[in-house]
């Protein structure tokens, strides 16, 4: 017999998509049966009470979680998010229901052995409910009580060789696409760079010293599968600067209909035979492709590497060999000043260990942002407030046409004194000798 009646939530148990309600109910049941005799360290009916409080929200159309609360593990300012229910008497099992963010392995590959260890720990010391995964990629442990926090951290670090992720005004857990591990378009080893930067900046990850959150995301190519360009204060997007490699035989096989275009992504519908002119050449945004003597030609100098032709013909076209990444900065969601897309700062940089050049750019930007940024001001907002030129100064970079979509519309140029011959200090009396009042 369920602890709380949940007639509204029960309606989310129908339909073909996996139901989280069913899953939580089943976990509630498993906890009550407790076949493995686990000595649960938080209330056994935590899942029942979570369903109860959620049902109340479904009735009233309002959340019942209180605002934050400062909890964490010793020495860290991030990784744990305090959460309390505003109806603790009705739902004592979730009166304290803190989240822990666990730093996910790059690319989110797991062994079942490791995942089971996480499950055992979280069943024993938490609610047994998780998010796989949170928005910044973390493994999210949903719901535990304050006395368990240090115990969980101790267990994670001592037994699982695993650390917490980021929360609060610090570096958030860096996230990456799966990169070279299983993608032919990865222009650098995204997982290795993500891992290295995560290790390098552990202090920034765990101890809030920033004006607000800061996100790194690593994408292997301009397809941007982890949405780095839209979601991270610093986006590392793989690219190349030489020629697209062409296998003309495979091009012919695409034209001849022997290979399905776009990796077979359109197989669910009859789009007619593949037409390379219409589907590739005419859709090329820079018009840098053509067919000559039955062969596909590309004027690579004009190519902007948008990925369309490579996506359509993955067996015929391959990324170049001179690979690296572009850095875009300042992306964010609307809070507070409106959404911002990442702006191109570094068009190309080689990705070579120990990545000192990349670290120099990161640290230059952080120094500027920590000095000038206001409380809760994202990097993108600071760039808007003080100007792109200040960003360039922070990383000692010269302006180049790649930095803009088009040059400025207004001539209100903020010349600096040192830019103007003779400087700004002038003598009014000298001026008046030739100009009467």
């Amino acid at each position: 017999m369920a602890k709380h009646q949940t007639p509204l939530l029960d309606q989310l148990q129908s339909g073909p998509w996996p139901s989280f309600v069913t899953d939580i109910k089943e976990e509630a049941e498993r906890r009550h049966k407790n076949e493995k005799n686990v000595e649960f360290q938080i209330p056994v009916d935590v899942c029942d009470d979570l369903l109860g409080v959620l049902e109340l929200s479904y009735e009233q159309g309002r959340t019942h979680w209180k605002h934050g609360g400062i909890v964490g593990v010793f020495g860290y300012g991030g990784g744990v998010i305090g959460r309390y229910c505003d109806q603790p008497t009705m739902f004592p099992g979730v009166a304290h229901f803190h989240t822990m963010r666990v730093n996910q392995p790059a690319g989110k590959y797991y062994s079942s052995e490791f995942l089971r260890q996480l499950c055992d720990l979280w069943e024993f010391r938490g609610s047994g409910l998780t998010n796989m995964h949170g928005a910044t990629g973390d493994i999210v442990f949903l719901g535990t009580t304050t006395p368990q926090l240090e115990e969980i951290f101790f267990e994670l670090t001592h037994t699982l060789n695993q650390d917490l992720g980021g929360s609060g005004s610090n570096l958030r857990t860096p996230a990456t696409c799966l990169g070279e591990s299983r993608c032919e378009w990865a222009c650098y080893d995204t997982q290795e760079l993500c891992y290295t930067m995560t290790q390098e900046y552990q202090d920034e990850l765990h101890r809030p010293a920033f004006p607000y959150k800061f996100k790194f995301k690593f994408d292997g190519c301009p397809n941007c599968c982890v949405a780095s360009i839209a979601r991270s204060d610093m986006a590392f997007v793989g690219t190349w600067r030489d020629q697209i490699r062409i296998d003309q035989e495979a091009v012919a096989a695409y034209i001849g209909g022997e290979i399905a275009p776009n990796g077979g992504a359109h197989a669910g519908r009859d789009w007619g035979p593949f037409d390379i002119q219409k589907e590739v050449i005419d859709l090329c945004p820079t018009e840098c492709m053509w067919i000559e003597d039955g062969k596909l030609k590309i004027n690579d100098r004009e190519c902007t590497r948008c990925m369309h032709c490579l996506n359509v013909m993955p067996r015929a076209l391959r990324i170049g060999n001179d690979r690296g990444l572009s850095i875009l900065v300042g992306a964010k969601a609307p809070i507070l000043d409106g959404a911002q897309m990442g702006s191109l700062l570094v068009p190309f940089i080689k990705v070579e260990e120990p990545y000192d050049e990349i670290k120099e750019i990161i640290e230059g930007i952080w120094d500027w942002w920590m000095e000038e940024g206001k409380n809760r001001e994202r990097l993108g907002e600071l760039i808007k407030r003080q100007g792109f030129q200040r960003l360039l100064e922070s990383v000692n970079m010269k302006a180049i046409p790649q930095h803009v979509q088009e040059p400025r519309h207004n001539p209100y140029i903020f010349w600096k004194e040192e830019d103007v011959p003779g400087g700004w200090k002038r003598d009014i009396n000298e001026f008046r000798k030739h100009h009467l009042r």
């Binding site: 073909p16 998509w17 934050g68 695993q162 993608c183 997982q191 891992y195 839209a230 859709l283 067996r315």
Partner: protein, 386 residues
Amino acid sequence: MAFISSGYNPDKPMENRITDIGPRHFTDFLPPVIAKNKGKWLWHEIVEPGVLMHKAESGDEVYTVRCGGARLMSVGHIREICDIADKFCGGHMRFTTRNNIEFMVTTLDEAKNLKKFLNDQKQSTGGHKFPVGGTGAGITNIVHTQGWVHCHTPATDASGTVKVVLDELFEEFQEMRMPAQVRISMACCLNMCGAVHCSDIAILGYHRKPPMIDHEYLDNLCEIPLAVAACPVGAIRPVKMDITTEKGEAKTVKTVAIKEERCMFCGNCYTMCPSLPLADTEGDGLVIMAGGKVSNRISNPKFSKVVVAFIPNEPPRWPTLAKVIRQIVDTYAKDARKYERVGDWAERIGWERFFEKTGLEFSEHMIDDFRDPAYYTWRQTTNFKF
């Protein structure tokens, strides 16, 4: 429920303390075929919906079977995923950024068996446990936030709204009959932990009432200057006020006043000050945005645009939400060209046609009036369509 210590000693917190070790190295977890061919992949294809094949220079092939997950997962459910990985994949699996689970095998036969096995797994209430799909020109899993399950600022639920939309679009998850991939994302408030602002279709929780003010407690719970500074439209100012407390005492308190007509309901003040709650049964609901993307393919990445200013919260199954999304998806599927994302399609036909064809109503709420960027969205040409 006796307290069991893991070995942590609160009297000596630094004793044997291990900190700042970061995550496990990813090479601890790569399946052998992935580890062997890392960086040496030649090309890939989608063999059938939900099944990818990647070919390596070595001649090796890896078949990936992708299935959707509900994001909110119990440890019991995760253990089942582990069992499947043990049975079929040598104990390896991975998760995608869109909350799918991927199982990798090395032959097509194994992949087909695995796909069938996954599709056969049902929850006790009849729904799928591990529906295979989410590839190519189809609709993949909807990434989302916490909603009423775990968050303190949501304007709606996340898991529930996503469940009903994916029930509605389930076939499109399993098929690949869209003009291009359609990425739907959900964020339960403007904070956008889910960063839905660049999705083909975005579901966004939204408040519509200015905050209430808990005068008696505000000065105890908040830094007033922070609350004032938090407002991006300068609608909050500090005031002193005479109040009667819950216990009936007359008292002068330091608190704030809000210019309500200026409020755009972002909730930032509430984040800084718990005494300014703005959640409300009728006030809260959903905004639908469309036409955003993050890929640089063909056209530049772009923001999603507001196409429905408000849909009420209709728990538990949000029928209007499901209907509106179905309308957009169906119209797009019928009208767009091959490879054309929702935003590219809308730009080609023009937004006036987008509203006409989808049957969505245009209102003054879709005209931007927030700061400078608003100006760049108004039409400065006679090139329009009747």
